[in-house]
């Protein structure tokens, strides 16, 4: 009986160590992301929020960083290295984890540009050949499948990404964003980024 008790105690201790180690391991991978992407993965400029992002989108982007086909300056500087050792399965697990976190709006856009931004997003500007973003990104900018959530991302990230479509980056991305973004003026990009930063 005494022996059994000792075995049980040892087993419990081993289990605790094992679970602590495995939990620690998961935390490390996530921790490596949240050092830059912020607590709760809710973004810390220049790193965008990942919380609530579409898992298929995150998984694909990690693959693009890994293959070095997503190639803007911050991607080269940070994400190529960060994604170097992330294989397909790790990317999927990280993507699912971040998708499960509740998104929090950055709320850091220019408030008086929100109206124009909302109009462009929800209705487009047919006379200027600007399409309505809502058709692909959804009524609350929540995204779908590999089309990313835009709602609540920070202003500077949204603005930078909209500008970069026509600066020769994003070799991995196919149509239609390069063509769409080419029709947006600087003011319209700022309006969109402002509106989206407040979308919950």
């Amino acid at each position: 009986m005494r022996n059994n008790g000792a075995s049980l105690a040892i087993a419990i201790v081993l289990c605790c160590v094992f679970f602590a180690a495995s939990a620690h391991g998961e935390n490390l991978a996530v921790r490596n992301c949240t050092w830059c992407h912020g607590g709760g993965a809710s973004g810390y400029p220049p790193a965008p929020a990942l919380a609530g992002q579409r898992p298929l989108y995150v998984e694909k982007q990690l693959a693009y960083f890994h293959a070095r086909t997503r190639d803007n300056p911050f991607a080269r500087q940070y994400m190529w290295g960060a994604a170097r050792n992330i294989d397909g399965e790790s990317a999927r697990n990280l993507a699912l984890y971040f998708a499960s976190l509740p998104p929090r709006a950055a709320n850091d856009g220019v408030p008086n540009l929100v109206g124009v931004g909302r109009t462009i997003y929800q209705e487009g500007m047919p006379e200027a050949n600007i399409v309505a973003c809502v058709v692909c990104h959804g009524p609350n900018a929540e995204g779908i499948r590999d089309i990313p959530r835009l709602g609540g991302l920070d202003y500077s990230y949204l603005k930078r990404r909209l500008e970069q479509w026509n600066e020769g980056y994003h070799a991995a991305a196919g149509p239609p964003m390069i063509s769409i973004a080419s029709k947006l003026s600087g003011d319209q990009i700022e309006a969109l980024a402002s509106y989206l930063s407040f979308v919950k």
Binding site: E123, G124, P126, E127, N129, I130, V131, A132, V134, V135, C136, H137, G138, P139, G143, I144, R145, I147, P175, P176, S179, I180, K183
Partner: protein
């Protein structure tokens, strides 16, 4: 204005016998020719400018349409399914763009789009999209295709549903106001058939051909709609 002296024709007697062989040494002739060339150039430039104006607009508008409907107008699965326009019947496209404006067909986005198009632009766009033939984008479940083919080709006489092919054509390419279905997006076809009366024939003061489809859409159950959609979405 001083009358010009007759042109002096130089050269051999043989040359003189041939009319219209003038030497360009004559100053008046040179000036005249220069003026003619300049005039032609000016007229050409002006008319080219007139051509570039509208055709530039058309190119920009086509690019705008394709930003949503796909680079070859093959359709695109966004948050909402965006239909294929490639190979579509021009009369159908023209009628649908009018339907958005006349509130026969409800869609806020397309209402705004249709309002921005002149009749000439609508015609140009309809002609352009009818001329495109990219392959279907696919994505429909294959196991439904055989059932769909049967409904499409034979109809369902027991529930009084005619063969789709009777109106939409054996290759589902449509005709006139009856749309091409071949290669249309699977989720778009499902959404459209499931919501027929919520999306089409919405203005009672302007009845249209969409009324023909209403009883058909109602008679098909969900799985039959999926089957027909799967079949026609694979057609080239």
């Amino acid at each position: 204005m001083r009358a010009l002296k007759p042109l002096r024709i130089e050269g051999t007697p043989e040359a003189r016998l041939r009319p219209a062989i003038w030497k360009l040494t004559d100053v008046r002739l040179r000036v005249g020719l220069a003026a003619l060339v300049a005039t032609l150039f000016f007229v050409g430039a002006v008319s080219a400018q007139h051509r570039i104006g509208p055709s530039g607009d058309i190119a920009a508008k086509i690019s705008y349409c394709k930003d949503c409907h796909g680079v070859s107008a093959q359709g695109y699965n966004g948050y909402f399914p965006i239909p294929r326009l490639a190979g579509q019947q021009p009369v159908y496209l023209q009628n649908q763009l009018r339907a958005f404006i006349e509130h026969r067909r409800t869609n806020n986005i397309m209402f705004n789009v249709a309002h921005s198009l002149s009749p000439a632009m609508v015609d140009a766009l309809a002609t352009h999209f009818a001329s495109l033939h990219p392959p279907p984008i696919g994505g429909a479940p294959r196991q439904k295709v055989a059932t769909g083919r049967k409904i499409f080709e034979d109809g369902m006489p027991e529930v009084n549903i005619a063969a789709c092919a009777a109106c939409h054509g054996p290759d589902a390419t449509g005709s006139g106001q009856i749309p091409r279905l071949a290669g249309q997006l699977y989720p778009y076809l499902i959404k459209t058939l499931n919501n027929w009366d919520k999306e089409r024939g919405r203005n009672p003061t302007v009845p249209d051909a969409s009324a023909i489809m209403s009883p058909v859409a109602h008679s098909l159950n969900r799985s039959q709609i999926e089957a027909v959609a799967a079949f026609v979405s694979t057609l080239r």
